[in-house]
């Protein structure tokens, strides 16, 4: 059965994933909108940066975060200067890492959804004197709803599945950084296969259920283009 430590790890994982997903939607929506609309020469450059975590090994990201967010790193000096302290081994650090790590899974479906809306609905809204902001909330968001759903689900589940980055910067602290993927790894290393089975089974069931909802109830196509 699941021990208290396992339940704590599950709860912490969903907490990290929820907060990260909200942040990613808040940051990712304007970014995806800009990327979908802009003709700026920097577009390719920004696209490449956003997609980087898709191809980078999590250990690379984890290593850089450990070094740069530490007390002698640039980001670490900055966060200490503004009074936040250093981020490794903290819940906030985990959220920052998750946002960086899962961002492409939020930005890319949104960008694809925004691009597919095209010019016509926006022009129609403009002729009805809708302000750009009004257009965005009354026209773009409803039309891009499937994109938002995909972005939310993929961003959330990808954060739940995060392992390598957390292992590098987490420090395995109960209720702060000991997420479920790390807990499973520790169970396996400690040869506690029974406990590992329970937790792993939970995650398998969760991941499959979410994808099932995504592909059947919400009728999203398993679209490779959206993910790329």
């Amino acid at each position: 059965m699941l021990a208290t430590a396992d339940l704590d790890a599950l709860f912490l994982t969903f907490k990290v994933a929820s907060i990260s997903t909200i942040l990613m939607l808040l940051l990712g929506t304007p970014l995806a909108w800009w990327l979908a609309r802009t003709t700026c020469t920097w577009k390719g450059f920004i696209n490449a940066i956003v997609a980087l975590p898709l191809v980078l090994p999590p250990t690379v990201l984890g290593f850089y975060l450990l070094v740069f967010m530490g007390p002698v790193g640039l980001i670490g000096e900055l966060t200490t200067w503004v009074g936040l302290g250093t981020l490794p081994f903290t819940f906030a650090g985990l959220v920052v890492a998750s946002v960086l790590y899962s961002m492409p899974f939020v930005v890319q479906p949104l960008q694809a959804a925004f691009t597919s809306i095209g010019e016509h609905p926006l022009e129609a809204a403009a002729t009805l004197r809708a302000s750009p902001l009004d257009t965005f909330f009354s026209v773009v968001i409803p039309l891009a709803k499937p994109g938002f759903l995909t972005a939310t689900i993929l961003g959330f589940t990808h954060t739940v599945g995060e392992f390598g980055v957390v292992l590098m910067i987490g420090g395995n602290i109960p209720d702060k950084t000991r997420v479920v993927s790390v807990q499973i790894y520790n169970h396996v290393e400690a040869l506690e296969y029974n406990e590992a089975h329970w937790l792993a089974g939970c995650l398998l069931l969760f991941s499959f259920t979410v994808l099932l909802i995504l592909y059947t109830v919400l009728k999203t196509q398993p679209n490779v283009q959206q993910l790329k």
């Binding site: 967010m69 002698v72 790193g73 250093t86 490794p88 420090g171 602290i173 290393e189 040869l191």
Partner: protein
């Protein structure tokens, strides 16, 4: 029968080629993270002396045990404890009577800041740090030893909220060397150079503060047919290897 020089060349090459493989083999070794530096040196000497070569994998002992229980390919196992090799022996995966203690591990309280860790580790009592790194006590014997020390100093309850745990001792070292943790417990072999702590500051913890870290090695059945595997086990007991082990601060088992 007379052979042309061409035929002779072919035969000699073939002899050299196949002969080579019988007396110059490669052994795959699973090495506990704390022993990575000495083992790299030992493997280099081993290759020079015997002509065999050793491929080293570093990681936590627990992970290696889990992998070998599930068919992992390692032929020699250098664990950070005695438990791992014993467990594999009970599972019938090792060559009988090949298990032995190759080193006694030494624990050190270490900081990458010079002058930070003072004599007798008084810093642990005075405090002023936010993170204390140690290896996960569930996974690593150096973590168990660190907990021993803290309990003996009656500081465990006070300091446990500050723990950041490395999955193995190498990761623990990484937390401290990047200064993310101000100080922590690592293996002496990780910070020693020419008999001294090379960087930062440290306190080599006296032996009577923690249960001995008896590090066991064993020959796996996977390596029974490979001449390089028993050769490595034997080389580990040789004087040059023992000298390297001592150089990295370990004690030798009697």
């Amino acid at each position: 029968m007379l052979l042309t020089s061409f035929q002779r060349t072919i035969i000699i090459s073939a002899l050299l080629l196949f002969g080579q493989s019988s007396w110059s083999a490669t052994v795959l070794v699973a090495v506990a993270a704390n022993f990575s530096k000495p083992m790299t040196d030992i493997a280099a000497e081993f290759e020079k002396v015997t002509g065999h070569s050793a491929k080293l994998s570093f990681g936590s002992s627990g992970k290696f045990v889990a992998q070998m229980e599930n068919g992992g390919p390692f032929e020699v196992f250098l664990s950070a404890d005695e438990k791992g090799p014993e467990k594999l022996e009970q599972a019938g995966l090792t060559v009988p009577n090949t298990r032995f203690v190759y080193a006694l591990g030494k624990l050190v309280l270490w900081s990458s800041k010079p002058g930070y860790v003072n004599d007798q580790g008084k810093i642990l009592t005075t405090g002023g740090f936010k993170h204390l790194a140690l290896a996960d006590q569930k996974l690593a014997p150096y973590g168990v030893a660190a907990v021993d020390v803290l309990k003996k100093m009656k500081l465990f309850d006070k300091l446990s909220p500050l723990f950041v745990q490395g999955e193995n001792i190498a990761q623990t070292y990484q937390f401290i060397s990047t200064a993310n943790a101000e100080l922590g417990f690592v293996a002496l072999s990780q910070v020693i150079e020419n008999g001294k702590i090379a960087n930062g500051s440290g306190w080599i913890i006296p032996d009577n503060q923690y249960a001995p870290i008896r590090q066991g090695a064993v020959l796996m059945k996977k390596g029974a047919e490979n001449p390089a595997a028993p050769a490595l086990i034997n080389y580990l007991k040789s004087a040059p290897a023992l000298a390297i082990i001592k150089k990295y601060g370990y004690d030798l088992a009697n």
